[in-house]
């Protein structure tokens, strides 16, 4: 379910501040939920929704879950499609959406970097980047925060509570 990504292409570049209406988002989300409900029901039918010799089959319960989810979302969909008092206001302001994307994209990159550099180095880079890019801090202000926080976390997890987190080449160089 990724309705969030549908927002970008639908945004009209010329029109300031408007992205999509709340109504469109309601329709998209309700539709996505209906599709998901359909998947749930189909898969339940696959594993069986009836009775085996030893009791209810695996799809017995989830099928009805899917059914209720489908019906409930269908009502939401219908109300927004034909309802006269559907909410046609803006779902999210363009500037606000830009801020949200500005947080989301680096965070996804951070999760990727974490895989290669370990959680501590990735966190340092991420905090530093975030502060400088979104907070407009100079590197002299951002760097101390970005270094101290991962150090505290390192102490807390690796030393105090003995919970190993993913580590990368830097930690390996220090013998961890």
């Amino acid at each position: 379910m990724a309705p969030e990504h549908d927002v970008m292409p639908e945004a009209v570049p010329g029109e300031d501040q408007s992205t999509v209406t709340t109504r469109v988002m309601e329709l998209v989300v309700a539709a996505v939920l209906m599709v998901l409900a359909g998947v749930v029901m189909l898969d339940s039918v696959r594993v069986g929704i009836g009775w085996a010799f030893d009791g209810p089959e695996a799809g017995y319960f989830p099928f009805y879950i899917g059914l209720i989810m489908f019906l409930a979302s269908a009502v939401t969909f219908g109300v927004n499609l034909i309802g006269r008092n559907a909410d046609t206001s803006n779902f999210v302001e363009r500037s606000a959406l830009r801020l949200v994307i500005k947080v989301l994209v680096p965070t996804v990159v951070y999760a990727g970097v974490m895989y290669f550099l370990g959680i501590y180095v990735a966190s340092a880079i991420y905090i530093c980047f975030f502060m400088m890019w979104l907070g407009k801090y100079s590197i002299r202000k951002a760097a101390p925060v970005a270094i101290v926080i991962p150090l505290i976390l390192f102490w807390l997890f690796e030393i105090a509570f003995l919970i190993p987190l993913p580590k990368g080449p830097l930690e390996a160089a220090f013998g961890y």
Binding site: A37, P56, A58, M69, A96, L104
Partner: protein, 508 residues
């Protein structure tokens, strides 16, 4: 009297100084979590849960529940001073709390809020002390049909008590159930909705969902509003505390009413948020200065805070006695119980006396500790809120990622958590409730197995849910809750005379 003896035994468990240390640490962490945007009771505890794996279950639950109380207290600080509800249940506190702060009476508003929270919690703990053993004893006789009926009541309450569209409540709830069903079916061993992937075999862990939905989702929402918080600052002096306390006994009936509302909605899971709104509404209806509400009436702070704290506390009662949490935070604690190797439910009161009564005794003490801590340290928390969001936000996101990773030591969980964050953001904006989703995700397996066991007993006959007075009345109550929006609609119409009094409501 048994309860009192057990309680004294519980205080004996607390005599271990380490438990007191964990309690204080928990309360301070909790207030911090409650104050910071993006960290709430549920996801804060979810993130900290892995740290408790090496502790004894009693110490761990004491720390985690203290975090919860701290978070409940902390929510009031942001609502009053910054007009930002740190937690959803503090929204109603902003109605009168923030106007009071703008009039320069922030100290009074905060004192009233903390005192009310404290009294609400204390009344609720008293209810737990005396009611929990009774409920647990009662629940020992429960069969699968009764358990399913109680779970049904839990979920139907969300529909009846929720402020959102009932269809959205249902959709969100069923999404939770559907996600819970992903993975291996515990009865037949068949794979459901994995679509041939290995990753989905583990299913979706609700802790990951909680961290994403409440943590990242909240950060994204806060981000929208821009990056700066502007708020009032205040210091609470002993004098202002005394002055406020003198005024509070007048509202004793508000306290009792709000605590009753809170306990009721906490036990039958409406949760703290509707409790605070309902209690605010009732206080307004019965108050002599009805016109003052919304403009800085102290009673408007007392009512929602008492109810929210009472509801938050009493949400632990069904969690302990039936294994059915009354709120997302209680759900996370239930998850903790399972991880520590304890089986929540009525047997807990027989097999784990130290654990249960240690926890209940700690509720009394940690609320006192929390009350004193927040009263004395308000300026500190207010200054933390002044740290720019562009510093706080990345740190919270880092904590969320670490929290998600540590649940199963899996990278994929971090990605899933971020995905849930986006879902949480969109759902919040469209007013899909998150609490039923989380609770369904937690209880999905349990609800399904009790449903299937009941069906096995009755050979597929649904009438087992009406087979005796106990299960029948719980189911009937659940149906009333489920159709409450419809019933309320017709009652409204009947009252307005458009419909008359003939039997449309009889249909449900």
């Amino acid at each position: 009297m048994d309860a009192l003896l057990s309680l004294i035994h519980g205080f004996g468990v607390l005599a271990d100084p380490m438990n007191i240390v964990y309690m204080c640490v928990g309360v301070v962490l909790g207030v911090l979590i409650g104050v910071l945007p993006g960290l709430g009771g549920a996801n804060g505890i979810a993130i900290l849960l892995p740290l408790t794996f090496s502790m004894s279950p009693t110490a761990a639950i004491i720390m985690l529940s203290s975090i919860y109380w701290g978070a409940l207290f902390g929510g009031a600080i942001t609502s009053v001073l910054f007009n930002i509800p740190g937690e959803p249940w503090s929204v109603a506190t902003t109605f009168d709390g923030h106007p009071m702060a703008q009039q320069g009476k922030a100290d009074q508003a905060l004192t009233a809020a903390f005192t009310s929270s404290f009294i609400g919690a204390l009344l609720a703990v008293a209810v737990i002390t005396f009611l929990a053993p009774v409920v647990a004893g009662f629940a020992l006789r429960f069969g699968p049909a009764e358990f399913f009926a109680v779970q049904l009541l839990t979920f139907c309450s969300f529909v009846g008590m929720g402020r959102e569209s009932p269809f959205k409540v249902l959709a969100a709830m069923m999404l939770g159930f559907a996600l819970a069903a992903v993975g291996m079916d515990s009865v037949t061993g068949q794979l459901r909705m994995t679509f041939g992937t290995v990753e989905l075999m583990r299913g979706f862990d609700f802790l990951i969902a909680v961290i994403g939905l409440f943590g990242i989702g909240e950060i994204l929402l806060t981000m929208e509003e821009g990056l700066s918080f502007r708020g009032k600052s205040t210091k609470i002096t002993l004098r202002s505390v005394m002055n406020t306390w003198v005024r509070l006994p007048r509202f004793w009936i508000t306290y009792l009413r709000s605590a009753a509302v809170g306990c009721w909605l906490g036990i039958t899971p409406g949760g703290a948020t509707p409790a605070s709104f309902m209690s605010y509404g009732l206080a307004q209806r019965f108050s002599k200065n009805r016109a003052g509400f919304g403009k800085g009436e102290i009673e408007g702070v007392v009512a929602p805070e008492t109810a929210a704290h009472a509801a938050g506390t009493s949400a632990l009662l069904p969690m302990l006695t039936l294994g059915i949490p009354g709120s997302p935070t209680a759900a996370v604690m239930l998850g903790g119980l399972l991880i520590w190797g304890l089986q929540p439910g009525p047997m807990l009161f027989i097999e784990q006396k130290d654990f249960v009564w240690g926890l209940i005794a700690s509720m009394y003490l940690s609320n006192v500790v929390g009350f004193l801590i927040v009263l004395t340290t308000v300026p500190l928390w207010a200054s933390i809120l002044r740290i720019p969001f562009s510093i706080i936000a990345p740190i919270i996101i880092v904590l969320c990622c670490i929290g998600a990773y540590t649940v199963h030591n899996a990278f994929l969980d971090v990605v899933i958590m971020l995905f849930f964050g986006v879902v949480g953001y969109v759902f919040k904006k469209l007013h899909y409730p998150l609490a039923p989703l989380v609770l369904a995700l937690v209880l999905g397996d349990m609800a399904e197995s009790s449903f299937r066991q009941s069906m096995l007993l009755s050979q597929g006959n649904i009438s087992i849910f009406w087979s005796n007075w106990l299960v029948g009345s719980i189911c009937a109550l659940a149906m009333v809750m489920l159709f409450w929006p419809l019933i309320a609609f017709f009652i409204d119409k009947a009252r307005n005379g458009k419909l008359g009094t003939h039997g449309e409501t009889g249909r449900v």
